[in-house]
Symmetry: C2
Subunit: 395 residues, 2 copies
Amino acid sequence: MENFVFCSPTEFVFGKGQERETGRCIRKYGGTNVLVLYGGGSAVRSGLLDRIRGSLKEAGISWQEIGGVQPNPIDTKVYEGIELCRAQGIDFILAVGGGSVIDTAKAIAAGVPYDGDFWDFYCGKAEIQAALPVGTVLTIAAAGSEGSGDSVITKTDGMLKRGAGSPLLRARFSVMNPELTQTLPAYQTACGATDIMAHVFERYFTNTPEVEVTDRLCEAVLLTMVKETPRAIAEPENYDARANIMWAGMVAHNNIVGVGRQQDWNSHGLEHELSALYQVAHGAGLAVIMPAWMEYVMPHNPMRFAQMATRVFGCQMNFAQPEETAKAGIRAFRRFLHGIGMPISFSELGAEEADIPKLVGKLGIPEGKKRAGFMELSAEDAANIYRIAAHAVLE
Amino acid sequence: MENFVFCSPTEFVFGKGQERETGRCIRKYGGTNVLVLYGGGSAVRSGLLDRIRGSLKEAGISWQEIGGVQPNPIDTKVYEGIELCRAQGIDFILAVGGGSVIDTAKAIAAGVPYDGDFWDFYCGKAEIQAALPVGTVLTIAAAGSEGSGDSVITKTDGMLKRGAGSPLLRARFSVMNPELTQTLPAYQTACGATDIMAHVFERYFTNTPEVEVTDRLCEAVLLTMVKETPRAIAEPENYDARANIMWAGMVAHNNIVGVGRQQDWNSHGLEHELSALYQVAHGAGLAVIMPAWMEYVMPHNPMRFAQMATRVFGCQMNFAQPEETAKAGIRAFRRFLHGIGMPISFSELGAEEADIPKLVGKLGIPEGKKRAGFMELSAEDAANIYRIAAHAVLE
């Protein structure tokens, strides 16, 4: 196990009706003049935004609103938010939505006290030194941004999707009411579940030996998702299925399952180019990329894939040919994804094999260099993975 | 799943040599004049205390020291600490040791700003409203106090062992260096491991349905302990076994594996009377009590015990007679405890069956009332569990 520092200070206020606590929570963490950020109309139509406004009013908090944050959130909304915060003396940002809204809120939070362009944090030119406090009211279990210190934003100029991270970006509080996810369509539910599982797999496939406790914690989240996701899709109003998924989504990404080990994140890297180019849902892109990545890198450590196959998907271990078990696990994962309605190939996703050179180009892996990870990837490796994804079929 | 609030803000600084960070951490959390609290001589003999003094000096921090905190820590040390803190204007308490030292530090931290007797918090007469900040340098994986908001202290007058809890008692930081546990004798290692497993079982056995994600997280910790404990005992200097156990001990008790569910804690309650009366190690007492409690309450929900048996101890499920699987799991747990050198009966522990009425009396369950828990326990139930523990044998 490697040395690490872990600190997840967010207060999670979880359960039925907890959005009523929003105003009280903002007060507790010092907010008086708030930017309320939200996405499409569902927070409006469902009455959630009205309930939150009521809670703010009750707590004597003033606020401004910005709506219309889109999936795969873009920089223009961040600039709009930074400007408003500065003009209005905003001292707290409340994100009402999923990962896109929360990631935008974090980008605004980091941008407000910064003299330069907030994009500096996302392109690696600067480190975040200060940020406004952020709170969240989560409406979809997926990105895990409610518990993480990460944010992913797309720069419209060139459609570059990049991430930034800092302990300063962790939310002060996150209200997590699984009821708010009961109206999610099956497709969005499945995309969210895929993202959650991907967050675990990105940590699970490691070259660090002797990390039994985090291996087992990873498997705990994966087993939960394998059980609860089909149930939430078959019975959208099943509160307990929704609740287990929502909490699993936080556990998957606040890094409690990832400490002390090298992590991968190449599937996310490869997927980001897909969703930036085609504007597909991040989870759907991951459903296509992640099993393809697994097939390609499996020979690097078949026993780790056999462990996943037996412990998560209940495959029988083939002790004579562990690679067969490894392959069975990957097949089981792809069947699981197909079963919850996810695309598994480029054509199902709406991506084009002819674009692979463009996708690889955007990854920006220099000639003769490789991306770090479970298996280091050259540009050619990335192209091979995209090609497997292009042609994937159910077995 | 039930509604809950979860907040574990402690910064965990984990790994080799991390005690060098102690001074920097105290500075970060505002400490300038520190009480350093420690237990027996091992922190002195090992040179740990000297390294910490060096780290404090380097950070420009002044400090006072109190040593000699004993296992099953007592109130007199708390009073001594409170007095010193007030006299010296202490603004931060650093616990160097295990649960006893950390729990004493927490009691002092709560007592300093309180006008009355700190014991008010432990006997339920008052709630903690303020506390000095606490940091820890952990030297044994066991109590989980480095990540919890709990503290257990014994009042010497009457040998009453009682607990207090508050979010204010969570450490600001905990330095966790597994190397510091490599010199622990096998018996203490096993006592710690038993305590860790008990912290999980107290949460695992619940009447709350539909808590798959926390069930799986509980099982993750238990599986880790089943694998790593015998290894740490056979190879005391195995860093990775020690590291997995140390992190598992924190995860077991910061409540990430216990949210959203009713918890039990009756085994701890029954054990506290044992260790208060006989001054036995808490973990050893739990090794005797916990399987006895399991046998007695198993009929309340055999399927939950069958789940433990199959998922944690790898028992084959007897679908025709699930109670047989449940029993096999309890037998496997007791064999595991015996295998790591723990006592499994009163006589092995040094307890007397004749004292059972006294033990039950101290529990203070009023006539006609029951203690809440997985199965509610009357005084007679408690006596029955102690009797099973008195006569337990290996099967």
